[in-house]
């Protein structure tokens, strides 16, 4: 299944957001996620299914003003 993560195409086998995070190597990282423009809390990642062509955003702490 092909999905977009941070605007880059990925071919993945994960079916849920939680599985995707493991598959892409983000395990244990301090990140937040959104699916198709909507925030998905960490507690809901395991039950959040990834539709084909899903747009996933994965963000982390960064310097800011």
């Amino acid at each position: 299944m092909q999905i977009m993560v941070n605007d880059e195409a990925h071919e993945v086998s994960a079916r849920t957001l939680a599985a995707l995070i493991d598959e892409l190597g983000y395990s244990g990282a301090r990140i937040a996620t959104a699916l198709n423009g909507r925030f998905v809390p960490v507690t809901q990642r395991a039950e959040t299914l990834l539709p084909d062509g899903a747009q996933v955003e994965i963000v982390a702490p960064m310097q800011g003003g």
């Binding site: 909507r38 310097q63 800011g64």
Partner: protein, 258 residues
């Protein structure tokens, strides 16, 4: 009088941004020299390989200063609200510096979107620090939307022009004597920060003025002293400005030598 920000009293009226420093070490040195009450932070896309955000998170933890995440770069209510939710989870705080940018040259806030986003977030339990203008009507709307702090700009972000509209900032202060007010953006040198505190502002938020100084840590210390001086001056009740000269040396008893 020291005001609290959503029930929290800051250790210093200096809020310092963490962006644009030449290196993480220089950022660390600057924060140590500034001793800010708050540092501002943000969120960006994370690469699984680089994990740059994780290193920054470790640095923030080490600094031990309360964080105020921002929604910098957001131009719509939806973007800002979603970013705020992600920030709350990542940083573990309900505080959010709410930016909804309306114009690219000045980076001035879209105050209509700002009020709407503030309402949505306040209803959801966020403690909103809105980046706004000095407009009194917008300020009223933000307070009605649930904001308990206002952060008017001094001048456009990164411009270093100082307090562009002292009259407007003074009016805002007079109009909302009990609301914590922060001059956010536009501060270029420590005297601007001192001036904001002298006007009765409760804090200043700045980033570029320190990060882009030739010696950021040294400038950070200068700002630490400037906000102390400004706050002290405010409590000392500054004199009224006058249009005409008034001699400070007594005239009575002056020798007649002409």
């Amino acid at each position: 009088m020291t005001k609290s920000f959503y029930g929290t009293t800051l250790s210093s009226p200096l809020m310092l941004g963490t962006a644009q420093y030449p290196s993480p070490d220089i950022l660390r040195d600057a924060v140590k020299a500034a001793q800010p009450g708050v540092v501002t932070v943000s969120l960006r896309r994370e690469s699984a390989g680089e994990r740059a955000g994780q290193a920054f998170w470790d640095l923030i933890q080490e600094l031990g200063v309360p964080v105020l995440p921002n929604t910098a770069g957001c131009h719509t209510v939806k973007e800002a609200v979603t970013t705020a939710h992600m920030a709350r989870e990542v940083f573990g705080t309900e505080w959010i510096k709410l930016e909804v940018i309306g114009e690219l040259d000045t980076l001035q806030p879209d105050v209509f979107g700002l009020v709407e986003a503030a309402r949505v977030l306040a209803e959801d339990g966020f403690k909103v620090f809105p980046y706004t203008t000095e407009d009194l009507v917008v300020a009223e709307r933000l307070l009605a939307a649930g904001c308990e702090v206002l952060m008017p700009w001094g001048a456009p972000i990164g411009s270093g022009k100082g307090l562009n509209n002292v009259f407007g900032l003074r009016a805002l202060r007079a109009h909302f004597p009990d609301v914590p007010l922060v001059v956010d953006a536009g501060i270029g040198v420590p005297s601007h920060a001192a001036q904001a505190l002298e006007l009765g502002y409760d804090a200043v938020l700045l980033n570029t003025a320190v990060a882009k100084a030739g010696d950021p840590a040294r400038m950070a210390e200068a700002f630490r002293l400037a906000v102390q001086a400004g706050a002290l001056a405010r409590t000392a009740d500054p004199m009224e400005e006058r249009d005409m000269a008034v001699p400070s040396t007594p005239v009575a008893g002056k020798a007649m030598l002409a």
